[in-house]
């Protein structure tokens, strides 16, 4: 059994303990059996590594801006490219080391090097007199995403995969920023394209999990999960944004049905990812509709009451079904 699976089982055992299902002695015994002792250092290392990566990514962006203000632009390209190449090279060496002496550090360096691909392309574009950056940066992002995905599959690493997916969806026109005065913005250039890309990522992730990761020892364990989560996130965000535009009544229906469909899928597949995304986005949907109605003029009281009563009746029926099955199966 892979370490990641053992870690997940150990976490389940800790949940049993917090819910009072098992006592402390049994919990300690089982955690030691599955995780080989306390795993907090391993997990802490992973998150610490993630923050190192985050900071490096920020410094790459800052470096581009600073170097572009200098006279020696070709030198700037060589510097960014050289630093990124070095990070990628040493990261690869650490990751592929059979002794696995510094696996987290290696993954951080390797992924930082990949982010540098975008940095190098951007610096080169300006250094050689490029104009209208807005037309080329999606292509730079796509190239970076391709490099990240190729690295992820070559070395069976999840961090480059996550970076690749993030850059890929940003290349499609997703953006966000902190706008000052405590306001954060999130936007999309074309919600329909993002929705299609999200649906494709979701389908690919499902195929990956059920086919490529059929073997529990697969090198690519967890890859399908990343595709599914990104797919669900961006497909839901697209539908949500479309439902906000004036005259988007049809999309309100699409968004609401999609949220309910995720709840149904979550129940049929016993998959908490679908259930979780369904709950969060259905809550946002109801919240938005509530305020839209509150400020609008058209009463939808009957709609809310009817929808609510239908949901209550359906929910009660399902609980009856679940209880009936439990009673049938009881010894």
């Amino acid at each position: 059994m892979r370490g990641a699976t053992k870690e997940k089982i150990a976490q389940e055992v800790r949940d049993w303990r917090h819910e009072g299902l098992i006592d402390a002695a049994l919990a300690d015994l089982l955690v030691t059996r599955f995780a080989g002792g306390p795993t907090y250092l391993t997990t802490a290392l992973r998150w610490l590594g993630f923050f190192a990566l985050y900071l490096f990514a920020q410094s790459v962006l800052g470096l581009i801006g600073m170097l572009l203000g200098e006279a020696a632009l070709v030198g700037a390209v060589l510097l960014v490219g050289g630093l990124s190449g070095a990070a990628w090279y040493f990261g690869t060496r650490l990751v592929t080391n059979p002794e696995q002496r510094y696996p987290t550090s290696g993954a951080v360096l390797l992924t930082a090097g990949l982010i540098g691909v975008f940095g190098t392309l951007t610096t080169a574009f300006f250094a050689f007199g490029g104009e209208e950056f807005g037309t080329v940066y999606p292509w730079f992002m796509l190239l970076t995403a391709a490099a990240a995905l190729a690295t992820a599959y070559r070395y069976a690493l999840r961090w480059p995969l996550v970076v690749g997916l993030l850059v890929l969806f940003h290349a499609l026109g997703n953006w966000h920023e902190y706008a000052g005065h405590g306001a954060y913005y999130l936007g999309m250039r074309d919600e329909r394209i993002t929705a299609v890309a999200g649906a494709l990522a979701l389908a690919f992730g499902h195929w990956h999990e059920t086919r490529v990761e059929r073997d529990n020892e697969s090198r690519f364990l967890g890859f399908g999960h990343a595709f599914i989560v990104f797919g669900l996130l961006y497909a839901n965000l697209s539908a949500w944004f479309l439902s906000l535009f004036p005259g988007g009544s049809a999309y309100v229906l699409v968004f609401s049905v999609a949220c309910l469909a995720q709840l149904v899928l979550g129940a049929s597949l016993r998959d908490p990812r679908f259930t979780g995304f369904g709950i969060v986005f259905l809550s946002i949907d109801l919240y938005t509709r509530f305020f839209e109605q509150f400020w609008g003029s058209l009463s939808k009281g009957a709609f809310f009451v009817l929808a609510g009563l239908v949901a209550v009746a359906a929910g009660g029926l399902m609980e009856l079904l679940a209880r009936g099955r439990q009673q049938r199966e009881a010894p």
Partner: protein
């Protein structure tokens, strides 16, 4: 790995634990049910439909009563009282049939109607003070009592939301602008209250092994609400300083921002460690989420605009990576030592 396959692995492990007699038959049955991998999870689906259903119904009743039927205040109070009594009475009937989540949802509906009733009565018997939050305090006391009397975790969640509003928290959506907002009056009070509520959560968890056994799992709501209030309060103060009412923002000093940012980062580092040490994924999730928000905000507020912080982020990244390398080295040495002994 699909969740279904993980459940299959868990079931196999649980069978092994039963064969080894590490768990008894009752616990075995509970755990197997928890990781069931065949058929539909009707209970999960039904639970969420019930929850959304009662919230939607309560909102609809409000709209109908105010906009369509245009009830007088007295008639509204009578209707709400009858509705609340019917909800709580109906819930007891469902409890006798063993429908736990239907019962809890109907009681939640009763709780929502009670809040409506309090406000209508408040308007009828108004002294002109305009102190409407006091009505929420009354609701809070009643709802907390009902939470424990009826053993209903949904009413505890509602109590926390009522507390948030009573204490000066606001949130909303700007219609037509696609903008959602969140604010707190006197956020320092929220920080202290959040810590106190999280403290109640810890005590609750400890007591769930003893006198609070029937209320197992309630500690998660206390802990989650407390940590959430504290996190949001420090987030606001890291942006605007120790403000009073929401309208008093933009008077912060640099020292204040430094202090609250350090407090926020330090608090989340501690929360992460506690979450990892005690296997509480909720604390881990809060810490990671808010550390990411803080790093994102600092970068885009102070660095990205001027692009002047290249070396600081590079140095911070290098130091963090250095720490990772050091810890990995230590872990390897510890493992080698353990193997040799």
């Amino acid at each position: 790995m699909t969740p279904r396959r993980f459940n299959r692995i868990m079931t196999a492990q649980i069978e092994t634990l039963r064969r080894e007699e590490l768990i008894d038959a009752e616990l075995h049955a509970t755990l197997v049910e928890r990781y069931r991998f065949e058929g539909w999870n009707w209970l999960s689906l039904g639970r969420w439909l019930l929850l959304f259903g009662v919230v939607s119904t309560a909102a609809g009743i409000y709209f109908l009563a105010t906009e369509v039927f245009k009830l007088t205040l007295e008639a509204g109070a009578v209707a709400l009282a009858i509705g609340a009594a019917a909800a709580f009475g109906g819930a007891q009937a469902l409890a006798r049939r063993g429908l736990t989540w239907s019962r809890r949802s109907l009681e939640l509906m009763g709780g929502l109607l009670l809040i409506g009733l309090t406000f209508v009565l408040g308007v009828i018997f108004s002294t002109g003070s305009g102190n409407w939050p006091a009505l929420l305090l009354i609701d809070l006391v009643v709802l907390l009592g009902l939470t424990y009397a009826l053993n209903n975790v949904l009413l505890l969640v509602l109590s926390m939301i009522v507390f948030f509003t009573w204490f000066g928290g606001v949130t909303g959506y700007v219609s037509g602008w696609g903008a959602y907002w969140f604010g707190m009056n006197y956020p320092l009070r929220f920080l202290l209250a959040g810590l106190a509520i999280a403290g109640v959560g810890v005590l609750h968890r400890l007591s769930e092994e003893g006198p609070l056994v029937p209320y197992r799992g309630f500690f998660k709501v206390w802990l989650s609400a407390g940590v959430f209030f504290a996190e949001m309060a420090v987030w606001i103060m890291s942006l605007f300083g120790n403000i009073g009412s929401i309208t008093e923002a933009y008077r912060e000093s640099a020292g204040e921002l430094w202090f609250f940012n350090l407090l926020w980062a330090g608090g989340n580092a501690l929360l992460l460690q506690l979450g990892l040490r005690h296997g509480l994924r909720m604390l881990r999730g809060y810490a990671i989420t808010f550390l990411t928000i803080q790093a994102y905000t600092i970068f885009f507020r102070w660095i990205a605009a001027s692009l002047g912080g290249v070396f600081s982020t590079f140095i911070a990244g290098t130091v963090t990576l250095g720490l990772v390398v050091y810890l990995e080295k230590r872990r390897r040495s510890a493992r080698a030592e353990a193997e040799s002994t």
